[in-house]
C-alpha cells in the first residue's frame, strides 16, 4: 500500500522532468503560475472522508496508482473519433488525445474567422491577452489540490474566445479521448471559454475512453460569460469504467448573462465533478442539470455551487441519478444567497432511482441564505422504480425488461430534454438504451 504523502511526493518529483520537456515554454507568464501551483500542491494534502466536502467520496483507489503525465498522444484513426461524434450534426470539432490537441483530427477552420478557437498551449505560447486576463482566475489553485495539480502541469486544452456581439450557431464539440497503454496515463485538460458581451456559443465538453484501461483525467474548465451573453454547455462522460475523472468547472456570469450546463455521465471508477457558478451582476440566469448512470462498484460525486452574489438572478438545478449494482452516488448542491442578492429565485431538485439492493446515494441540499426577499426551494428523493407504473405497463402487454427501460428513460428524459440539440439528445438516448438493454 502506497502512502498518500508518497503520492504527493510522486507528483512533485515529476515536475522537474516536466519542466525540462516544456522546451522554452518556461518563459511564459503561465509558467510562473505553474511553479506557484506546484508549490501550493506541496502544501496541500489529498482529501479524506474527514473533509466535509469529501465525506462520502473515498479517493483512496485513485491514490493507489502512480500515474504518469502523458508525454505525447498515441496515433489514432479517424474512425475511432467518429464513434463519438453526434451522427449528422454540423459542428466544429476539437479533438484531444490523452490531453494533446490533434490538429489532423480536428475541424475548426470554418469558424476561425468568427472567433478565436485554438489549443490553449498555443494561446499560452502566443501570450494571448485573454490568458492574462482570465486564466486561473476562477478556479482556485491555492486551496484545491486537484486544481493545483492541473495548473502545475497544464499543457493543453481548448481555448475559445467569442468576441462581442458574435453569435456562433454551430455547436463546438470538444472531444477528449483517453487510453493508457503501458504506463497509467494522467492528463490535465484545461479549458478556457470566454464569451464577450452579447455573444452566444454552445460547447460540448465530451470525455470518452478508447478502451477499458486505467487512466486519470484531471480536468479544469473556466468559463466567463460576459454581459448579456449566452453560453450553453454540455458535458458528456462516457469513459472507461476503470478510469478516474476529477473535474472542476468554474463559471462567472456578468449581468443579464445566461448559462446552462447539462451534464450526462456514465461515470468511471471514481468521478468527481465540482461545478460552480457565480452571478457577478444582476439579471443573470443559470441552469445546472445533470444525469448520472452508474453500476457495479462505480462512484459518482456531483458537487455544485450556485453563488447568488447579485440581486435579481434566477437559478434552476435538476440532478438525477440512476444507480445499479453496488454503486455509490453523491449529490451535494450548495446555493449561497448573499446579503445583497434580493429578489433571488433559486430552485433545486435531486432525484435518484436505485435499481439494486446494494447501491447507495447520499444527497445533500445546502442552502445558505443571507438575503430576506428571496424565493428558494429544494427537494431530494431517493427511491426505486415505481411498482405501480411497472405493473400498469406490463398489464398493457409490455414486457418486464421493456417496461423497466421505458420508466428509466422517462426518469432520465427530464434532464435529457433540456439539451437543446436533437442530435446530442439522440446520442444520449442511444447511450441510455445500450446501458440498460445489456
Amino acid at each position: 500500500m502506497i502512502q498518500t504523502n508518497e503520492i504527493n511526493k510522486w507528483y512533485i518529483s515529476l515536475f522537474d522532468e516536466f519542466e525540462r520537456n516544456l522546451n522554452g515554454g518556461t518563459k511564459s507568464p503561465v509558467h510562473q503560475l505553474r511553479k506557484k501551483a506546484i508549490n501550493d500542491f506541496s502544501q496541500l494534502s489529498f482529501p479524506t472522508n474527514k473533509d466535509e466536502e469529501w465525506r462520502f467520496t473515498n479517493i483512496s483507489p485513485l491514490l493507489k496508482y502512480k500515474f504518469n503525465p502523458a508525454l505525447n498522444a498515441p496515433f489514432i484513426e479517424k474512425e475511432e473519433v467518429d464513434r463519438f461524434r453526434f451522427n449528422g450534426m454540423k459542428c466544429s470539432l476539437m479533438v484531444f488525445v490523452n490531453g494533446f490537441f490533434s490538429e489532423e483530427l480536428s475541424e475548426i477552420e470554418s469558424i476561425k474567422d468568427k472567433l478565436t478557437i485554438k489549443s490553449i498551449s498555443t494561446a499560452i505560447k502566443e501570450n494571448n491577452p485573454q490568458i492574462q486576463k482570465h486564466f486561473n482566475k476562477y478556479a482556485d489553485s491555492s486551496t484545491q489540490i486537484f486544481t493545483a495539480l492541473s495548473t502545475a502541469y497544464i499543457i493543453d486544452g481548448a481555448f475559445i474566445h467569442v468576441p462581442e456581439g458574435i453569435i456562433i450557431e454551430e455547436p463546438i464539440h470538444i472531444l477528449f479521448l483517453s487510453s493508457s497503454k503501458d504506463d497509467k496515463i494522467l492528463s490535465h485538460p484545461r479549458n478556457l471559454i470566454i464569451a464577450e458581451k452579447n455573444s452566444q456559443v454552445l460547447i460540448i465538453e465530451h470525455y470518452a475512453g478508447l478502451d477499458n484501461s486505467i487512466y486519470f483525467t484531471n480536468a479544469v474548465t473556466e468559463i466567463s460569460v460576459g454581459e448579456n451573453a449566452v453560453v450553453h454547455h454540455t458535458k458528456i462522460q462516457e469513459e472507461s469504467k476503470s478510469s478516474f475523472h476529477i473535474a472542476r468547472m468554474e463559471t462567472v456570469q456578468e449581468r443579464n448573462s445566461c448559462f446552462t450546463s447539462n451534464m450526462i455521465s456514465l461515470g468511471g471508477e471514481i468521478t468527481r465533478n465540482d461545478f460552480n457558478t457565480r452571478f457577478n451582476g444582476t439579471g443573470g440566469e443559470s441552469e445546472l442539470n445533470g444525469l448520472f448512470l452508474i453500476d457495479d462498484q462505480q462512484l459518482f460525486d456531483a458537487h455544485t455551487l450556485i453563488d447568488h452574489a447579485s440581486p435579481h438572478c434566477n437559478s434552476h438545478e435538476l440532478y438525477r441519478g440512476i444507480l445499479d449494482g453496488k454503486s455509490r452516488g453523491v449529490f451535494n448542491g450548495k446555493i449561497i444567497v448573499r446579503k445583497d442578492a434580493q429578489k433571488t429565485n433559486a430552485f433545486q431538485e435531486n432525484n435518484n432511482i436505485i435499481l439494486s439492493n446494494e447501491a447507495l446515494v447520499n444527497t445533500k441540499p445546502q442552502l445558505e441564505i443571507f438575503a430576506d426577499d428571496v424565493k428558494c426551494s429544494h427537494g431530494a428523493t431517493v427511491g426505486q422504480l415505481d411498482n405501480e407504473a411497472l405493473f400498469y405497463l406490463k398489464s398493457r402487454g409490455i414486457g418486464e425488461e421493456k417496461s423497466r427501460d421505458i420508466l428509466i428513460h422517462a426518469f432520465a428524459s427530464d434532464v435529457v430534454r433540456r439539451i437543446k440539440i436533437d442530435k446530442i439528445k439522440d446520442h444520449i438516448e442511444n447511450i441510455l438504451t445500450e446501458k440498460f438493454n445489456n
Binding site: F391, K394, S395, G397, I406, L407
Partner: protein
C-alpha cells in the same frame, strides 16, 4: 368457454381476501360483479390481471383453456386480457402514444403479426379516439399525468379500444364520473362489444347498468360470490341495498 375460475383463493400480506370464487364467462357475454366495499371485487380484477402482490393460495383460472395463473402479467395482456384500472397510474415522462405503440407492437409480435409502422399506428388510433371522444392533445401528454378523473377513465377505455382484448375487466370505471363521462365510457364499451369478446364490469353502483346491460349479475361478499342472477338482480340491490345480501348470506354460507 373464455374464462373459468374455480375455487379461487387469494391473499395479500397474509390476509385472505378471496375465499373461493367460481365464475364462468363465455364469449359475447357481459358480467357485472357488484358488492359492498371490501368484498374483494378489485382484488379479483387485480388477480386476473396478474398483480404480483396478491398470492393465489388455492384454485384455478383458465383463459381460452390455458392456465392463466402461470402467465406473467404482460403475457396475460398479450393473450387478450385487459384491466381498466380503478385508479389509473400516472407515468411522468412517458407519452400516451409511445406507451400504446409499444404495447400494440409487443402484442402483435407475441401473436406473430407484423408490427405497425408509425403511419399505420396513427391511423388506427385516430379511429379509436373518436369512440371515447378523446382530444388529440391527450395523446402526446404523459400517461394520465394531470388528467382529470374523467379523462383518466376515458383514457382506459381508449386503451381498451386500441388493444382490442378478448376479455376486458373494468374495475369501477364508472366511479366518480359525471353523467356525460359515464355515457361516453358506456358507449365505448357497447361499441366494442362483439360475439368474440367478453366484459367483466366491476362496479359499486347500479347506475352504470342503465347504460350497459349485463347478461349476468354476481354479488360478491366477503370473498365469495353469494348470489348470481340476471340484470334484475342489480335493480333489487339498488332498491334494498346490500344489507339484504348480508342477511341472505348468513343462510347461504
Amino acid at each position: 368457454m373464455l374464462l373459468e375460475i374455480k375455487d379461487l383463493h387469494a391473499s395479500i400480506e397474509g390476509k385472505e381476501i378471496l375465499k373461493g370464487i367460481n365464475l364462468s364467462v363465455n364469449e359475447g357475454e357481459i358480467h357485472a360483479i357488484m358488492g359492498p366495499n371490501g368484498s374483494g371485487k378489485s382484488t379479483l380484477a387485480q388477480v386476473l390481471a396478474g398483480r404480483e402482490e396478491y398470492i393465489v393460495t388455492k384454485g384455478e383460472v383458465f383463459f381460452k383453456g390455458k392456465n392463466l395463473l402461470t402467465l406473467a402479467p404482460e403475457d396475460r395482456a398479450r393473450e387478450g386480457i385487459f384491466l381498466a384500472f380503478q385508479y389509473p397510474v400516472e407515468i411522468p415522462g412517458v407519452s400516451n402514444t409511445n406507451m400504446l405503440k409499444t404495447a400494440v407492437n409487443e402484442i402483435r409480435k407475441y401473436r406473430g403479426e407484423e408490427e405497425y409502422d408509425a403511419m399505420e399506428f396513427l391511423q388506427m388510433i385516430k379511429s379509436k379516439m373518436k369512440l371515447v371522444e378523446l382530444e388529440q392533445a391527450l395523446l402526446s401528454r404523459a400517461v394520465n399525468e394531470g388528467y382529470s378523473g374523467g379523462e383518466k377513465k376515458r383514457n382506459e377505455i381508449f386503451q381498451m379500444a386500441v388493444l382490442e382484448p378478448k376479455l376486458a375487466i373494468l374495475d369501477e370505471t364508472d366511479s366518480g364520473l359525471d353523467i356525460d363521462a359515464l355515457r361516453i365510457v358506456a358507449n365505448g364499451v357497447n361499441m366494442l362489444k362483439s360475439p368474440d369478446n367478453a366484459t367483466i364490469l366491476v362496479t359499486h353502483y347500479q347506475r352504470l347498468l342503465n347504460y350497459i346491460v349485463p347478461d349476468f349479475v354476481h354479488v360478491l361478499y366477503k370473498g365469495r360470490i353469494v348470489k348470481s342472477g340476471g340484470k334484475e338482480l342489480a335493480l333489487e340491490l339498488e332498491e334494498k341495498g346490500y344489507d339484504f345480501i348480508k342477511d341472505d348470506s348468513g343462510v347461504l354460507v
